[in-house]
């Protein structure tokens, strides 16, 4: 009975936050780890950690933390192999209006050139998280976050010019 209640609560949580998981996963997909596999891995790790969640932070902070940790761990394993930016994979999943398609592709093309931690920070920044929330999720200090965001801005500008 207890387990089935937990399971129901967890399924509901996933249903309510599936966009969050999707957005995190979309930052880290690769040939070896397509979207569905990453999504599954994140859900599995969330499920493992779910009983330990003690409301010490908001549910979204907790979910971002687990999802990002999972994707970064997977990505680090994958980095030993040659990388390929899977824009085609994104095309299959993103149903975007014609006018936006190129912009979204361009956005992901730029994001994929950032390193794993920078991708996490830019994702949280784009999700309009405060510096404090970004620091809570990533475990970095506020100063560090501010510096990193500044660097990412410069990096993006440089990449666009190229």
């Amino acid at each position: 009975m207890y387990n089935s209640n937990i399971e129901k609560a967890f399924i509901e949580l996933i249903r309510q936050n599936d966009r969050l998981i999707y957005k995190v996963c979309s930052m880290y997909i690769s040939d070896e780890f397509p979207l569905a596999d990453l999504y599954q891995e994140v859900v599995y790790n969330l499920w493992k950690s779910f009983p330990k969640f003690r409301n010490e932070c908001s549910i979204s902070t907790w979910m971002y933390r687990i999802a990002l940790n999972t994707c970064i761990t997977v990505m680090r394993k994958e980095l030993r192999r040659p990388q390929h930016v899977p824009i085609l994979e994104l095309n299959e999943h993103l149903i975007a209006p014609e006018s936006m398609e190129e912009n979204i592709k361009e956005m992901y093309r730029l994001i994929y050139q950032l390193n794993t931690l920078e991708r996490a920070i830019i994702l949280l920044y784009l999700e309009e998280k405060s510096y404090q929330e970004i620091a809570d999720i990533t475990g970095l200090t506020l100063n560090n976050i501010a510096i990193k965001i500044k660097r990412i801005k410069e990096k993006l500008k440089k990449m666009s010019e190229n």
Partner: protein, 199 residues
């Protein structure tokens, strides 16, 4: 593209995701299909191992039947004939089961797959009953009678008892942990896929 442009693009993407039900459906569908495939592969592998074991039973029973030491004994010969007949029946049965399992294709209709899984589950139930109430008692009775006829010493009787306990435990474990668990997992995924398609 600067950061504020990136933010605009992200907001548009976010809006699209809010509206895009098919995206989630597609991801969930892929997840369920992968999960089912893993369970199906476990079932196929186990059935394949079963087939090999029963195939090996055919030459072993022929070899045992012709052993000179059993020449003048009735029950060991009956035991080997029983093993031979069972092995042939089980090879045919395993091939039939494998053929049924191979029919399952998660990219095709959920209803057809459900039918195949249910047929397989019924076949397995029949097999379980045949083993627990048919083959196992016959084998062990023949084993006891053969040992009695051969005048086997204490160590052979101990071996028979241990073999009986290990055999029952292994059979129970295989049915419970491999067959039942994976069949239930496939059925659950198929039910969820069905629900997803009906939504």
């Amino acid at each position: 593209m600067e950061l504020h442009e990136l933010k605009n693009t992200w907001t548009v993407l976010d809006e699209q995701l809010k509206k895009n039900e098919t995206l989630n459906k597609q991801i969930i569908q892929e997840m369920l299909q992968k999960k089912s495939s893993r369970s199906l592969n476990k079932l196929i592998n186990t059935s394949f191992i079963n087939l090999i074991v029963w195939l090996l039973g055919i030459p072993i029973s022929i070899w045992g039947y012709h052993l000179p030491r059993f020449e003048n004994f009735l029950f060991p010969k009956i035991l080997f004939v029983t093993i031979f007949v069972t092995a042939i029946l089980m090879v045919i049965w395993s091939c039939y089961q494998l053929r049924n399992l191979m029919k399952i294709d998660f990219s095709k209709s959920v209803k057809d797959n459900m039918r195949s899984v249910n047929t397989y589950a019924i076949m397995l139930k029949k097999e379980k009953i045949a083993i627990y109430f048919g083959f196992a008692p016959i084998y062990y009775t023949l084993g006891i009678l053969s040992y009695y006829e051969l005048g086997a010493d204490f160590s052979y009787w101990t071996f028979l008892v241990v073999a009986f306990i290990v055999g029952v435990a292994m059979t129970y474990w295989t049915y419970k942990r491999i067959y039942d668990t994976n069949i239930q997992a496939i059925k659950k995924c198929l039910d969820e896929l069905n629900e997803l398609n009906e939504e």
